[in-house]
């Protein structure tokens, strides 16, 4: 397979559960990289902690497996010292928006050229199914046996408010959008966020009676709709998918270069 050249095949089969959507995200991300014709040596993947973070072990790029929530901080350091490299930071919902919430909003505010992929399964899978800031109300989790009362973040709105200049959302059902959006996010100069709804049949699905991985993907098909569709007007509860924001703003590393030039008096 064309994308196998980007894999560290010695670690396969991977550790994710049967039907876990994270594998589909890995699949789509590698297709995006392949379509862009990028070499392994021009990509740096930085991840934190969690099921999603294990993705960096499976790809044959430059990879950093760092501490919980801090992947974007490490990625910022790499990008600022080697701005010619492409940074991809896959994160889980908790890694990105709970433990790493501050790093996330500040990376977006700076508009540093990093591609953040938020693999949103609405739960902490690796540690046994605790609720996350993306779980939302009326969700059963190990730490919310009588249902969660916390409202959830909206990744798109949060990123928009924080200043990200490319924001997209899709699901593991809509696979062709995964590689299309990641491809566009990598090409975009500035902070890009791609939220992908990904099923955790082991914890989220089982506790919330959503059935198998197949059932959860059918649910993604049924509860999402393209941005601005007629269906959304008729049923406001549908989750929109597509590209929400795509705009040009000064990129952080370029601004930093200008400051260096100014300081050096040239």
């Amino acid at each position: 397979m064309a994308i196998n050249k980007y894999l560290r095949e010695r670690f396969f089969p991977h550790l994710w559960c049967p039907g876990c959507g994270h594998g589909t995200v890995l699949n789509g991300m590698l297709r995006a990289v392949d379509k862009l014709g990028m070499s392994k040596n021009e990509i740096v993947m930085v991840s934190g902690i969690g099921c999603s973070a294990r993705i960096s072990g499976y790809v044959d790029f430059h990879t950093l497996h760092t501490i919980h929530g801090r992947a974007l901080a490490f990625a910022t350091g790499v990008k600022m010292s080697r701005p010619e490299l492409n940074l991809i930071v896959p994160m889980g919902d908790g890694d990105a928006l709970a433990i790493g919430g501050n790093h996330f909003i500040h990376a977006a505010r700076r508009n540093i050229d990093i591609t953040a992929i938020v693999m949103n399964n609405r739960i902490y899978g690796m540690t046994g199914g605790q609720y996350s800031p993306l779980s939302g109300q009326d969700i059963i989790a190990t730490t919310a046996p009588y249902a969660s009362i916390d409202p959830s973040f909206d990744v798109v709105e949060l990123s928009r408010a924080a200043g990200a200049t490319f924001i997209a959302r899709t699901t593991t059902y809509h696979v062709k959008q995964i590689d299309d959006f990641i491809k566009q996010a990598i090409l975009h100069e500035g902070f890009s966020v791609v939220e992908i709804l990904t099923q955790c049949p082991t914890h989220f699905g089982r506790k919330n009676k959503q059935g198998s991985a197949v059932d959860m993907m059918k649910l993604y098909r049924d509860i999402t709709t393209p941005i601005g569709s007629k269906a959304k007007q008729e049923n406001p509860n549908l989750i929109e998918r597509g590209i929400f924001v795509q705009e040009d703003k000064p990129e952080y590393c370029r601004e930093y270069e200008k400051i260096i030039e100014k300081a050096m008096g040239s």
Partner: protein
């Protein structure tokens, strides 16, 4: 454009975890799970090379070759 013709449908059964995603979402119902809960292409002549099984497979176990 001419319709793509199937050259080979490869499944790495040592990577397959039997989630059934490929089986369920194949538009032509080409695939099924065998007695070991691994995906097999049972009705290959029906394959239309849409590659949706390959794209959706969370185990990266499927490869569809077309010409």
């Amino acid at each position: 454009m001419a319709k793509p013709i199937l050259k080979a449908h490869k499944i790495r059964s040592d990577w397959c975890k039997g989630c059934g995603i490929c089986v369920e979402f194949c538009p032509k119902k080409v695939l099924e799970l065998d007695e070991f809960e691994r995906a097999v292409a049972a009705r290959l002549p029906d394959c239309i090379c849409c590659r949706l099984c390959e794209l959706r497979c969370p185990d990266l176990a499927i490869e569809v070759e077309c010409k």
